[in-house]
């Protein structure tokens, strides 16, 4: 140990050696592991290299891009690749190797070759696609049948995403007024969190698997950067396994993302997705309309032909019926004529019989009448003789009875007259007024004639009727008869 160095001397030697070893910038392939931009616009990175078939890191270095360079490199890279310069990317960068006594080893990035990243991304895409295909899942979502009328739509998007509201408006106000049932499952649509967020939304939709007709993943146009989340194996795999058809409209102008490739239907923009859904419903509607019209036509034809068959029958029927009617009519007329004759003969016969009967009846009646008349005459004469005799006898009897009665009445009357005279004399004697006139009087009590003392009481008022006038007296003494 003869020579001792200070750390700064050592670091100075390393710096010198490095400076001599790397006189010009070197092109290096590395993966960006960390990337930060500070307030001054300087970019600080950590570059790494992983094992070929694994994740183990085999080399690592700090790197910087000074703000002046970064302002030029960043847009150049992003417009060329359609990809944000961000962590996880593999890049080919031109670096000057630097060593600082205090800050150590570092690579200063001077230039970047985006075509390498493009190639790497394409290779990675190819690998993912190859993997999905070798797993036999790549076409699984495509094999699902999109319902005839996709009306119940689960939307994965961000409610603030540019195309989202347009998409809703377009479906809600479609000209044919088809009814769409829309449900948003919000998700982060770009960056590192997108993968987990979109898978989370798909998991929610999965709970209503039987309800939805389709899932649409939409994202407005605008920024073309950072679509790498749709080139993600896990998300792509999830889509292939999803039991509902997935329709994408994630605003990719260039290549299709892997999610696009495995989706049931891949469309460029949300607007295109809305048109696709509306046209699907319209197509069904049109088909329905066609079937309806065809049905109406066929029914019309069938009815027309049925009617013509009936008409034909009717036409051939008329002569047959007419003929039949003529025949029947002839027979009927014949029968009527026969019947008519028969009836005439019958009536004639009957008339003759009738007149003969009438004749004999009249004759019989005349005989009968004469006999009866003679019998009547005889009876009348006999009756008249008898009645004259009876009258004579009765008259005689009557006369005798009258004479007898006269005598009887005369005797009875004289007896009665005598009796009447006696009765008149007696009546004159008993007339009360005549008795009163002779000095007798009648005393009444309570309107009844007083004949004894039985009903009378002391101080009672009694009325005495005299021949002329009345007096009212009060009882002072009662002398009872013993």
């Amino acid at each position: 140990m003869n020579e001792q160095l200070k750390l700064s001397e050592l670091n100075g030697l390393v710096k010198k050696a490095i400076g001599e070893a790397f006189t010009a910038p070197v092109w290096v392939i590395a993966e960006i592991s960390e990337l930060k931009i500070n307030r001054n616009g300087h970019c600080y990175l950590v570059l790494i290299e992983k094992e070929v078939n694994g994740d183990a890191i085999v080399a690592q270095a700090k790197a910087t891009i000074w703000s002046y360079t970064f302002r030029m490199l960043q847009p150049y890279f992003e417009t060329t690749t359609g990809q944000q310069l961000t962590e996880g990317l593999k890049v080919l960068v031109s670096v000057s190797v630097e060593f600082h006594e205090l800050y150590g080893f570092s690579l200063n990035i001077r230039d970047i070759d985006p075509t390498y990243t493009l190639g790497d991304m394409a290779r990675r895409r190819r690998e993912i696609i190859a993997r999905l295909q070798s797993e036999g899942v790549a076409d699984m979502n495509k094999e699902l049948t999109l319902p005839l009328v996709p009306q119940k739509i689960a939307i994965i998007s961000s409610s603030t995403a540019a195309g989202y509201q347009d998409f809703i408006d377009q479906l809600t106000n479609n000209p044919a007024k088809y009814r769409f049932h829309l449900k948003l499952f919000p998700a982060i649509m770009q960056g590192n969190q997108a993968e987990a967020s979109i898978i989370g939304a798909l998991e929610q939709i999965y709970q209503y698997e039987s309800f939805f007709d389709a899932v649409v993943i939409i994202r407005g146009g605008g920024s073309q950067v950072d679509l790498s989340c749709f080139d993600n194996y896990n998300l792509a795999y999830f889509v292939t396994q999803f039991p509902i058809p997935v329709i994408t409209g994630i605003g990719h102008e260039k290549d299709d993302s892997i999610v696009d490739l495995v989706a049931h239907t891949r469309l460029k923009t949300p607007t295109a997705v809305a048109e696709f859904l509306i046209s699907g419903v319209a197509q069904f509607d049109q088909h329905l309309e066609e079937l309806k019209n065809r049905f109406a036509e066929i029914i019309d034809d069938r009815l027309t032909s049925a009617r013509s068959v009936v008409d034909q029958y009717a036409r051939s029927f008329i002569p047959i019926v007419t003929d039949k009617i003529v025949k029947v009519n002839g027979r009927l007329n014949q029968t009527i004529w026969k019947f008519d004759n028969y009836v005439k003969v019958f009536i004639k016969n009957q008339n003759y019989q009738l007149s003969r009967t009438e004749e004999s009846l009249r004759h019989e009646f005349k005989n009968f009448h004469q006999i009866q008349l003679r019998r009547l005459e005889r009876t009348t004469r006999a009756l008249s003789v008898s009645s004259q005799r009876i009258t004579l006898i009765n008259n005689e009897l009557l006369m005798r009875k009258i004479q007898l009665s006269g005598k009887l009445v005369r005797n009875m009357l004289s007896d009665k007259l005598l009796y009447l005279e006696l009765a008149q004399q007696k009546a004159q004697l008993t007339d009360p007024l005549k008795i009163l006139a002779r000095g007798y009087s009648i005393t009444t009590y309570n309107g009844r004639a007083l004949k004894d003392t039985d009903r009378i009481i002391m101080n009672a008022l009694i009325e005495t009727k005299l021949h002329k006038g009345n007096i009212i007296s009060e009882i002072k003494t009662i002398i009872k008869e013993l």
């Binding site: 009328v149 009306q151 049932h181 209503y208 088909h287 329905l288 029914i299 069938r302």
Partner: protein, 71 residues
Amino acid sequence: MNTPKKNLSYKEAITEIEEILKQLDNNELDVDELSDKVKRVSMLVTLCKEKLHHTEQEIDKILKEMDNNFN
């Protein structure tokens, strides 16, 4: 004649209409059956049109349930 189902799917409806059309094309239907078929087809068409343009109660119910579950 089947009784009309409210939740008849579009596919079922279209299939049935197409089946009836096929029967008509093949002259498998008697004139007397036409009236029933006309009624049936017109009912199916109306049902589809109704579903195309209006919300069913059942769907609203499920969408509301989702709102409650996820928001």
